[in-house]
Symmetry: D2
Subunit: 327 residues, 4 copies
């Protein structure tokens, strides 16, 4: 009902779901889902294939893979390695698709976006911290230095946030990309979800890069193939929900409940007689403006961010250092 009220989500899957719930078909956008019961893992694939689809979704054309599992933030090494293996598989799919023809000696720059000082935004920096970088070793000792047949060149950077550096993360990364010429950038970022149930159990892998307005921080300019000059795989984990989103959602529930309430059915009758625009205007005024700039996050966010960043860095290490996934 409050569709027009702009609710922020960085997940293509949630954007698609908005349309699904209204039974609206968007041409050029395909959603496929599969569920692995044993692994308790749901994988959704949103393909935005046309410019029309991109416009409707408010997201650029490309592939968005969403992995959801209740086990993502559990402190269980085995479960985490299981999920890391899946992440690795899907990252490989998107990387192969985007740098097709090159399979050996790939040079990868991993970018850990976000603010290390704000717990739910520290995910990207933590992933970069735990990564095994190899570029300097291969550069110095040659391609067999790592004792593997392949010798990918992994480098990593934590660019910080604009309030700390005075620069856009995208400026910093573009400079480093031009100087060090990686084949591909993997950018890891904390995201904002629309639905708080998705927090800390969801990873989105997209070959469309990173776009403004994600997560806790404000990256004003995106990181995409257009802006960086090389393909950008974005790995995002929703760790926060906008405070305004949570309020808005509850109010939608509230109005829906009023409309169908037995106890307050008189209210519902009256509400039904007003159109969506009237109700939307009315609700908008009630959402306190000072909620902008606030986010909602779980109290145990420190443990969750530690576990998930560990899983993602394991997935990247798996992919490039000791390749367990073969074609």
């Amino acid at each position: 009902m409050l569709r027009n009220y702009s609710v922020r989500t960085d997940l293509a899957l949630e954007e698609k779901e908005r349309f699904e719930s209204d039974n609206v078909e968007i041409s050029g956008v395909v959603l496929e889902e599969e569920y692995d019961e044993e692994k308790e893992l749901k994988v959704s694939r949103v393909e935005i294939r046309t410019e029309n689809g991109a416009k409707a979704m408010g997201k650029p054309a490309g592939t968005y893979l969403t992995l959801e599992s209740p086990n993502l933030a559990l402190p269980d090494e085995d479960l985490q390695m299981g999920i890391a293996t899946e992440l690795c598989r899907y990252m490989k799919e998107l990387i192969d698709k985007n740098i097709s023809g090159k399979e050996k000696d790939i040079s990868i720059l991993v970018v850990g976006l976000g603010n290390r000082e704000v717990t739910p935004d520290a995910l990207g920096p933590y992933v970069a911290d735990h990564l095994t970088v190899t570029r300097h070793i291969v550069k110095e000792y040659g391609k067999y230095a790592m004792g593997e047949e392949q010798s990918h060149l992994i480098s990593a950077i934590v660019p910080g946030v604009t309030g700390q550096t005075g620069m856009e993360s995208a400026e910093i990364v573009r400079g480093i990309v031009r100087e060090t010429n990686p084949d591909i950038v993997i950018a890891v970022d904390a995201l904002a979800a629309r639905n708080s149930r998705r927090l800390n159990r969801t990873v989105q892998i997209a070959d469309t890069g990173i776009h403004p307005g994600s997560g806790v921080g404000n990256h004003r300019s995106g990181m995409t193939k257009e802006s960086l000059g090389v393909p950008v795989i974005g790995i995002g984990v929703p760790t926060v929900v906008d405070a305004a989103t949570i309020v808005n959602d509850t109010m939608e529930n509230f109005i829906r409940a009023l409309e169908s309430s037995d106890a307050l059915k008189g209210v519902g009758e009256v509400l039904r007689s007003y159109n969506t625009g009237e109700k939307y205007e009315f609700v908008k005024e009630l959402i306190a403006p000072h909620l902008n700039g606030m986010f909602v996050t779980p109290k145990d966010i420190d443990e969750m961010v530690h576990h998930i960043s560990h899983t993602i860095s394991e997935a990247v290490n798996m992919l490039f250092i000791s390749p367990v996934i073969q074609d």
Copy 2:
């Protein structure tokens, strides 16, 4: 209207305001306010003098001083020192009142409560980090070691949170108090406010210690004169609001607006015909249960916590190391 819905606040001032807004007098509770226009500083003093008052307020009898200033979290050294001087003055008032008769060579244990790993909960640990401790120097070199006439013995501990230690903070602090025998404990903690406008601009100083349910973490047992054996001054700064509180507040606004709405005045008429209990039950169901365990906090919480912890540690240093406040 939703009065019965238990809204969490750690601020005595906010508890008192709830009654004020309903024009309810609570016997045994006195509120005094003063405003210093030049310093942009509002000081509210809530005195809970009787057991009745304590019961009505849901907080133990004692003095609660609340300092509010928009300058609290500003990165301006001069403003911060001005506020630190005021904090120092009011802390001194409560300390003197609680250890009357002893003015020299006081032994103080400062406890930095909270979780260093969760940004809005790191306030207490940061205050302890920046403190100048002296107990070991006075113990080793005698009471004139600090080159002052007085030689207070300052010690400090960051007990961590139960999820990290397996122990209640109160157990750890009680053990240390029994072993080191301070005259007084100053416990610094991040709090939950009811009103998000109070975040990061408010400090509460109370001589009733620290009570369960404060802030981000869960201190199940309190730190009071009864439990520790020495007076406890609690210094609290609201850095979060419960997610459920924000939703509840907006819904209160919503219902109030519906009741007086022109556009939707039919709804308001119907709502008015139901009693508070009916409306409360109805709203309660809509507040998503998974919002429990979530908090709301500003995006620039890292800078705010840094600035405020700096101000509080300066106030404590001022009070005990280089006493600028004289009787």
Copy 3:
């Protein structure tokens, strides 16, 4: 030769080696060594059985196990788990010996000694950080809460250093022990070795606790069964060498070389004609006094401390959470 010059080592093995190198037998002290070639692991067992032995060694009577492996600080998960398994086995031996009769539902306090802010001294805090604590869960949900037959109660504390707290670590830990009554304390600390080759490849496990003068920091009072009231297992890893020790060692080599030099054999003849005391006095003056308070440590100490603390916390987790070692 410079035997009288007090060279600091926290390793009983190094103390014993001093006597070995002079072919001096110390009654009451037994040294046994074994080497596992496959695991590249050398285990030395020093038993100080008599007061005489303790006096000669300058260390209290008890068992000192030293595990040495070049793999200790290698970033290889498999090697680390192998070493963790061995650490687990030997820790279990000393724990069983010291709390004999009690095998189930043991309550353990792990103490992470040292200064988190000084890299080679951060080992103890890092071990505590990575530990799985269970005491609060068992206390709240009962002994089957962890889903194991046994339910040990693990708690952990990082007491900080005196310059940060104004208190001795031993005071803090004694207070907590009296309040929470663990059956045994495991205290983890960074140590000073005499020989820089031992750095970051050695772990000492002793049932005599922690003694003053260890490592980077200055713990003036020890943590022993006498001072805490419960048995204390000390786990120490040498991460630094005293600057004065390194200088002294090189000078010993120098004098020894002069004495047997062909090129400078005249010098050697003269030196041989002086007694040890004369030479010692002479050398002592040359060791710059400002070297006191300085330590020597490797440049990659950050990675080493991370790897070793991970291995030790894994060993403790193994021992108490998922017991893989059976009698």
Copy 4:
């Protein structure tokens, strides 16, 4: 005597002193010293004016200012501000000289070199942490946004070390410089001194940039006007001494003492009969090779690095944000 033995120092002043102590004049190198008794501040100015001088000194031509004060690492706000004011004055001198003609709206990139995880190497990152960056504000809100007549654009980066990023710091900084076009780079780094008495009481400001082999970390490639394309002011603070240097120095003292010893005068006579080369070869063998890769640093390095980084960031803030130094 052991002059040929290559002793590492990053301080031009120490390099110059080596020649002074031998009464060797180097053409093209000028040393001026002044001492402010009241401020306890010694300022040495080494000007390397010719290529000959540069070759003799092993350092590029340019100006090297060394400020020495016992107060540098003292926890006294007033003393620190006094030193910050002097640092500010001398930094301004070198900046003005290198970007002459441009005095307003200067764009400055501050680079915090070093490894945040190794305490004595964390100086550069800490300076960057405490800096007030303004570039993004001026870019967004215009040149009067800061409320000053001048509006310098300050940005800051902590590039990390090669072992963490897989890239040279110089590559990262060059990329960022090309992308963001600052007028000048200020690079802050921890240095290695030759003399341990200089640790934590010395700051070197040079307009020749940063050169390989400084401090704890290994920056293989330097940051200079040649490599970055803009002038580079290097600010260095010696926080470590190479382990081999300390051993070597003590041995020099030892041999000198032997040569003039009464007690051991026979040894001295023999030693005097050998030439420098013979003695040098002899000593070289005694310096244990595993001391390479080790450094010596004070035990309270954490406090020192905190205090000095605070002073330097205050000096930079003073220079660009609230200019107290006028021409």
